[in-house]
Symmetry: C2
Subunit: 310 residues, 2 copies
């Protein structure tokens, strides 16, 4: 991994973020699509607030670059990536609600329920989740309906009861919301995180292989890569909470630690967590072995995810 | 329309309701499906509370019976109907939330946020909406991926920003939630209702034709039927609120009228609304002309929807 690969990575991450932003901007206009009756301006505005406020667009990057391993044309992968950003955005809007994590700020701006109101935030999240399944079913994603329906089914499983939404439920339960605080085992923390944040990152990588109509062993390789970087992403996030300062993060540091949140950093200690991160980067790189140098940008991405400072 | 068609209709409505209940019961177990990591029991319980508490299952009935016009086998249509019930169920859970309509009772039982809590209700709604797109993408719905992806796209458009979720947004706005109460024109009320309740009923009828790989004119006929009965459903609902008593309805009567809610009954008067209902039943029946006697059960359904007393 030389300086030029790192430069390539930074350039590509920025380019895909810009493309995703432009695409979401065009998709979230006030003109109804066929089959829609009207788009209420207030709901459009709240959805735009939720998904056009920035972010690294890491999930679309992983999807587009995984698909590129199989020579998939970028426009279809970008649209699937935009669908994934809608799911990610909806989850942030609902998680921020007063009845959930009750956060007023997100990426330095008011959360949707602060900028608008709670009812609008609930509906904006609902409509973003629904839009994701609209986008991923569109013919522009891939010419083969079998590919689109496979993506849609996998996205639903990754986002729903047995994935992201279920993970948020486990997180609230662990906080003691329902019947007292539970001390989670390392295995339980791993399950919670695999669901809450891991599932969508894993989906992003698998989706590239599905778009590429990859052979089963190539899909399995990207699955292993996705699982490893999903875990790395969460440990890096938990380390940032412990080691970061509020100025660098742009959000409150030490919040999870103060809340006594169940994290692998709490379970492994800071040094143990850094070791585990290095192991996960190794696993992610090993998973990409069969792709050779064309997977270099994903290898740099794995390091970036593990080492990021914000 | 003789007594025997009405008997057939009542029997079929009950049979499809029972099948739908059994199917949802089996689908909402605690064992994860492939691609799911774990199903948190509390979230499963809240989702079950939301969709297993009864209801006429009118949308699955319309979907299954529309599909039957084209000789579609019932198990695929029932699974698509179960997906539609998940969308309907999610919308009730979120609409009942304190930040939305703030209802404590639904079908004589506590609403999900009363039986559980607000955070669980938000997540249960989210997970039901997501599950709908899981179910409708399954191979058991139809052997052709193109059919499943078409259903999924139409369901997303019917349920989202330009359909049901958008309709709820317009309804909250009309109540004066954001910038004062608006007197809506008849056209605006019609748009609101076509989105909030009409879109899913219309989808149910269109979905039957899509499952049946119907010719464009047959799809257009079922579309017209779905639009007419969707309007009839809402007017009948609004008339029930004005004419019904609480004992018969099982919920508070005169609630919408007391809230000064924008309805076509308020705009047309009770007698005018009854006339409009009769016209809509005529339109619905006319739309089914080309199907001959095999559509009799849908003709009875149109009358049932217009004349129901609860």
């Amino acid at each position: 991994m030389d300086a030029s690969s790192t430069g390539d990575f930074t350039t590509r991450l920025g380019a895909i973020a810009a493309e995703t932003q432009g695409l979401l901007d065009r998709l979230l206009g006030e003109t109804p699509e066929p089959g829609e009756i009207a788009r209420p301006p207030r709901l459009v505005a709240a959805m735009r607030h939720a998904v056009l406020g920035g972010g690294k667009r890491l999930r679309p990057f992983l999807l587009v670059e995984s698909a590129a391993l199989f020579g998939v044309r970028q426009d279809g992968a970008l649209l699937a990536g935009a669908a994934l950003e809608c799911v990610h955005g909806y989850s942030l809007v609902h998680d921020d609600l007063p009845a959930m994590d009750n956060d007023d700020l997100r990426r330095g701006r008011p959360t949707v329920h602060k900028a608008f109101d709670e009812a609008t935030a609930i509906l904006a999240g609902d409509a973003l989740l629904t839009l994701a399944f609209d986008l991923i079913a569109r013919a522009q994603v891939h010419s083969a309906p079998a590919v689109r329906v496979a993506l849609s089914l996998e996205l639903a499983r990754a986002a729903g009861l047995g994935g992201m939404a279920g993970g948020q439920m486990l997180d609230l339960a662990a906080e003691g919301r329902f019947d007292g605080k539970h001390a989670l085992s390392q295995a339980e923390i791993a399950t919670l995180q695999a669901m809450k944040t891991g599932a969508l990152i894993r989906f992003a990588c698998r989706a590239g292989a599905i778009l590429g109509e990859a052979a089963p062993d190539a899909l399995a390789s990207l699955d292993r890569f996705g699982v490893a970087i999903g875990q790395a992403f969460q440990i890096a996030d938990d380390l940032l909470d412990v080691e970061g300062d509020t100025a660098t993060l742009g959000k409150a540091a030490h919040k999870d630690a103060a809340a006594g949140k169940a994290t692998l950093v709490a379970a492994l200690g800071v040094a143990g967590a850094h070791e585990r991160l290095a192991d996960l980067v190794g696993e992610a790189e090993a998973a990409l072995m069969s792709f050779g140098p064309k997977a270099d940008i994903l290898r740099v991405a794995a390091r970036f995810i593990a080492e990021r400072r914000s």
